[in-house]
Every structure is written in C-alpha cells, then in structure tokens.
C-alpha cells in the first residue's frame, strides 16, 4: 500500500519541469461521523509535502484539513532536465510517512 499513495508525473521543457502529483489520501477533518457506528472519524490528514531535486528541498507545502481528499498538487521546478530524479515525501498528522522518487521525462 505504502508505495502506491503518490502518483507523480514530471515533464521538462526549456529547463523547467512541470510536476503534477496525486496523493491517495482520505484527508479526514476529524468532524465527520461514521454512519455505521455513529463515532467521529478521527482527523487524518497530510501536514507536509516536500519535493526534493538534486539533493535539495525545493518545495515544501504545509497543509491543513482544508485540502481536498486525494490531494492534487502541481508546481514547476527550475533547472530541471530530462533524466533528473525528483523525490516526493509527505507526512501525516499521525506521523505516518510515505515517499516516492521518479525520473523527469
């Protein structure tokens, strides 16, 4: 399960890589009630998404529960060429982590 939570595509054009990622995550606010049990569903959301390029953290996103479930995030990395490696990692409020790395097309 762990390795499938992040889907990333990156395409380089004129030295700028357009990165698009989709993360498979419920982003629970902690307010929703489970219709079967009547209990509150505990908050479970991604707090931090970090993108690493050439060994440097180039982008850090701090998220609250106000981000949609199965979050989508897109950004553009400078000085990136085809073949470069991009690493993405996220951390949940519970401390759970996941990461992936891809090659720029």
């Amino acid at each position: 399960m762990a390795n499938q939570s992040i889907k990333v595509r990156a395409k380089a054009k004129k030295g700028v890589a357009k990165v698009k990622c989709l993360i498979n995550h419920p982003m629970e606010t902690g307010l929703r009630t489970d219709s079967k049990t009547g209990n509150k569903v505990p908050a479970q959301y991604i707090q931090e998404v970090v993108c690493e390029h050439k060994g440097k953290d180039v982008m850090t996103a701090h998220w609250s529960t106000g981000i949609s479930k199965n979050p989508y995030l897109s950004f553009r990395v400078k000085d990136a060429v085809k073949g470069d490696t991009l690493k993405l990692r996220w951390t949940e409020n519970s401390g759970k982590k996941d990461s992936t790395s891809i090659t720029i097309n």
Partner: protein, 156 residues
C-alpha cells in the same frame, strides 16, 4: 468465522491506536513537524490565520494571479492555481475566508521553483479566496470570490 473475528479485533485495535497517535500528535506538534505553522493552521478567524503565518497587512497586488472557478458546484474540490511574476517570492499561502479554519495551505517557495502552485481545496460556503505571497519583506495579496453550491468542508 474465527478468522473474521480476528480481523475485527485487529481493526478495532488499529483504529484506537490511530486515535492515540493523533492525540499525541496534537499535543507535541513541534517534535513531529518542525515548521508546520500550528497556530495559524488551528486559527478560526481569518485575522488570526493571517497573523499566525506572519502575513497580515499585505498590500493588494494584481500581479498575483488566482485561477479558480467563479462558481464551484462541489465545495469539496475547488481547483485553485496561484501564480505570479513578482520576483523573489519565498512563501505563498491560500486562505478561504468562509471556512472555520481559514488557512488551507502554506508553501515554502525556494529559488529552485517557479512561483506557481496548483491544488484543490475544500470550501464550506461561497466565500473569498485570499492568497498572500511574501517577497523579501513585502507582502502581496489578492482575492477571488467563489460561489459554492454544495458545502464541502465542515472543519475545526
């Protein structure tokens, strides 16, 4: 049958441990998240959220572009794209005025990425989206009103 009972027990245990982890996470955020702006993220008014991120008192700037639909049917996923040509942007944040927790997200922008972020946010009701960008010691902000038909966020 026995297997199912085992699975059930396991699941209940797993759920409760998540709950404990969440509680622990809320109590000691600093140890888990070094830079996560706890105060701003939990702020329930737009003023507090802006202050919490150090982004209060920004001047209006049209060069900070917000791309979002004028009307969103589903408040659960409102696509927002923020971009700008202002040089030297180091941070950007997206706020929704009408949400119980106005700060949806904050981004650290380094020299190695363009000031461009595209994501999807939750909106409780028709409201203004406020985007603030920090460049050097200057703050810029722009707003866009989005009409929401079905609420997609009840968050505190």
């Amino acid at each position: 049958m026995r297997m199912k009972r085992r699975a059930f027990l396991k699941n209940t245990l797993a759920t409760s441990s998540i709950g404990i982890a969440v509680a622990a996470g809320l109590l000691t955020p600093a140890s888990v998240m070094a830079a996560w702006p706890q105060a701003a993220m939990k702020a329930t008014s737009i003023d507090h959220a802006l202050k919490g991120t150090g982004m209060a008192g920004a001047q209006k700037e049209k060069g900070l572009k917000i791309k979002a639909p004028g009307m969103a049917e589903n408040g659960g996923t409102v696509p927002v794209t923020v971009s700008s040509k202002i040089p030297g942007i180091t941070a950007m944040a997206i706020f929704v005025k009408g949400n119980d927790l106005p700060l949806t997200s904050a981004y650290d922008i380094t020299d190695n990425i363009e000031p461009y972020i595209s994501t999807q946010i939750k909106m409780a009701k028709s409201s203004e989206i406020i985007v603030v960008a920090k460049a050097g010691d200057k703050l810029y902000q722009n707003t866009k009103f989005v009409k929401v038909t079905v609420s997609g966020y009840a968050g505190k």
